[in-house]
Subunit: 223 residues, 2 copies
């Protein structure tokens, strides 16, 4: 897995997995993806001290991954679809964001628990939409999900600019990605609208990248 993003889109997870994959190849240890995933999680927990491991799962398995903390990630079948990533240009530090959410969570436990429940329900529904290749529903779920993340307090002015610019340019859905506040948002493009969305993101002050869902860890060449 290569990462050309300079900031905040699971790049540290990607680097960890790529390094583990390269070492695995070099030493011919022959460990499988599940083991690489576990080692990757161990690495980020030791270095960062936190993290769900979802970045490691995405980088290891690629594609669309069903991720539940404490369970082995599962690959989800899907048809190829275009996404546009919009970088806010603002590097948000995950740790203080997570901590500020935790402060609110302590003060409003029922509300926050309900938001987490809802996000879980939306995700289940999204799995179904992936299976049915129902991009319209997927986009709606992304928009609703973004609203819940907003309620948690992790959206920002620049994220909203990029999210609304994408929607106006024809995105079926748009949401922040990761811990929020800065870093990236992603938009689900309706067929053929990638370029228009990318331009809209750039005009709104973001750095767009038209992307496709790729496979995970792979060895491209060994000399």
């Amino acid at each position: 897995t290569k990462s050309e993003m300079k900031q905040g889109f699971g790049s540290s997870g990607a680097v960890v997995v790529a390094t583990l994959g390269a070492l695995n190849e070099f030493f011919q240890t022959g460990i499988n993806k599940e083991k690489i995933y576990n080692l990757g999680c161990k690495t980020i927990w030791e270095v960062q001290g936190y993290g769900s491991g979802i970045d490691i799962a995405a980088a290891t398995y690629g594609g669309i991954v069903k991720f539940l903390k404490g369970e082995i990630p599962e690959k989800v079948e899907f048809k190829d679809f275009p996404i546009v990533v919009g970088n806010t240009g603002f590097k948000a530090k995950s740790k203080p964001i997570i901590e500020s959410v935790q402060v609110f969570e302590k003060k409003y436990p029922e509300v926050f628990e309900s938001i987490y429940d809802n996000i879980g329900q939306l995700t289940k529904r999204a799995l179904q939409a992936f299976k049915e290749n129902d991009l319209e529903t997927l986009g709606e779920l992304m928009n609703i999900n973004h609203g819940f993340l907003y309620a948690l307090g992790v959206s920002s002015e620049i994220l909203e600019k990029l999210v609304f610019a994408s929607r106006k340019a024809g995105a079926l859905g748009a949401k922040l990605s990761g811990a929020g506040i800065g870093d990236n948002m992603i938009a689900l493009a309706s067929p053929g609208s990638e370029k228009k969305i990318a331009e809209a993101i750039r005009e709104a002050g973001g750095e767009p990248t038209v992307a496709r869902i790729d496979e995970g860890l792979k060895i491209e060449e060994v000399k």
Copy 2:
């Protein structure tokens, strides 16, 4: 009640209540506020064909009103606090917005029911915050509430601009008001920050009004 807003902040409700109040005074019918509230609701239902009646309640009773559809509105005790209203300049029609929410509600009934539940919980908590004059909590509740409204699909680019501009300028909380998409947002000002918030709203493209919570229907002069 006077309304200097030219659009979308319960002005039609205010006009209805003011007219009923004037007629009541003129004909010396001596009906009380509860009766005026009921007549006001009847009027908007006949003219608009919809409406919760909350605008009528606010215009009749003034101050802070606890409003539950089908129940007589209750006045809530509070200490005076400053709010800044930001007009988006965009007149949103309530009916199509409500209808588009209903379409989503049909498709995602559990999620939308949960959002309504949460909004109800936040409102109960807000009543307590009013009693305790806990403006900080009130602001947080406004922000969370706005997130839920966003999840319903009724925020917009311009509303987000004004909401984030207000927060950055020192508002304790900010949220859309009414049906959303356009019309107005309101910001709860921290003491002394009204002017700064008003300026920020203007810079962000909105029309600010620094306001205070006033009493409801009153007869100012009879000649």
